[in-house]
């Protein structure tokens, strides 16, 4: 690269956080989180293929407090990345760029993901009979 002193655009910390920018980086962070969580998914499936003993080890880990914490984060990452991904697909066809609309769909994606996470865990605990 040519070493020319050029003016820099203002750095990130100059700007007040806004729903659009915060959700933009959250989309990337949740996507990366899902990538890390996919290790657990692959481990779970491969263990199931190895047999009941290996499967039980993974099930025990997922049932532990650490496993549940990881799964809780994974659930939110999943629902948020999906909801915000749908926003992105609408932007790709040129819809939803008005600031009011983008702010509204942003809050919808964020709060909707939170609500779906809570609902999924209530349903999960109901399947286990409350434990």
């Amino acid at each position: 690269m040519a070493q020319v002193e050029r003016p820099l655009s203002p750095h990130l910390q100059i700007y007040k956080p806004q729903i659009s920018s915060v959700l933009s980086i959250l989309h990337r962070m949740t996507g990366f989180g899902l990538g890390v969580g996919s290790l657990l998914l692959a481990w779970w499936l491969v263990a199931a293929a190895y047999g009941p003993d290996a499967f039980a080890v993974v099930q025990d880990f997922i049932s532990s407090w650490l496993g549940r914490l990881i799964l809780l984060g994974f659930t939110f990452c999943f629902f948020f990345h999906m909801a915000n991904g749908i926003r992105h697909l609408f932007w790709d066809i040129g819809k939803g760029f008005e600031i009011k609309t983008a702010d509204m769909t942003g809050w919808l994606a964020f709060l909707g993901a939170g609500a779906l996470t809570v609902l999924a865990w209530i349903a999960g605990y109901a399947m286990r009979g409350g434990s």
């Binding site: 990337r28 996507g31 293929a49 999924a120």
Partner: protein
């Protein structure tokens, strides 16, 4: 050291012609993952607390096995593309190439292993 500016040295060469493919496949896998992901989320909730035999029975039907393989293929392809862009954006040292290779290998390994696991569970053995 060349006195040409970075722009001058690439002007006229055109693009690498690989940009559209990345963009398009990322969108197509995203689109496919909406129904597949929602199906899997609902399915996993229904399988909470299931033991190995119950899970194997559940996964064993052709429809579920195919949906699972499609989900895994789309997921690990989408993941490879996404992590690739994160590395491109944040890693500018010579580690760039090492990380890109690791990303490809890990995603292909995880995808292949997961899909093989589903096939083994579904087809017996």
């Amino acid at each position: 050291m060349s006195l040409r500016s970075p722009l001058g040295s690439v002007r006229g060469l055109g693009s690498a012609k690989h940009g559209l493919d990345h963009w398009w496949v990322q969108r197509m896998t995203a689109l496919a993952l909406i129904p597949l992901g929602l199906w899997l989320a609902a399915s996993l909730i229904s399988q909470v607390g299931a033991d190995h035999a119950a899970f194997k029975d559940w996964l064993g039907t052709p429809g579920r096995s195919v949906a699972m393989v499609l989900f895994l293929f789309a997921t690990f392809y989408h993941m490879k593309l996404g992590i690739q862009v994160i590395i491109e954006d944040y890693v500018h040292s010579h580690w760039h190439l090492v990380l890109q290779i690791c990303n490809s290998f890990v995603c292909i390994l995880l995808g292949t292993a997961s899909i093989f696991a589903v096939l083994k569970l579904a087809l017996g053995g």
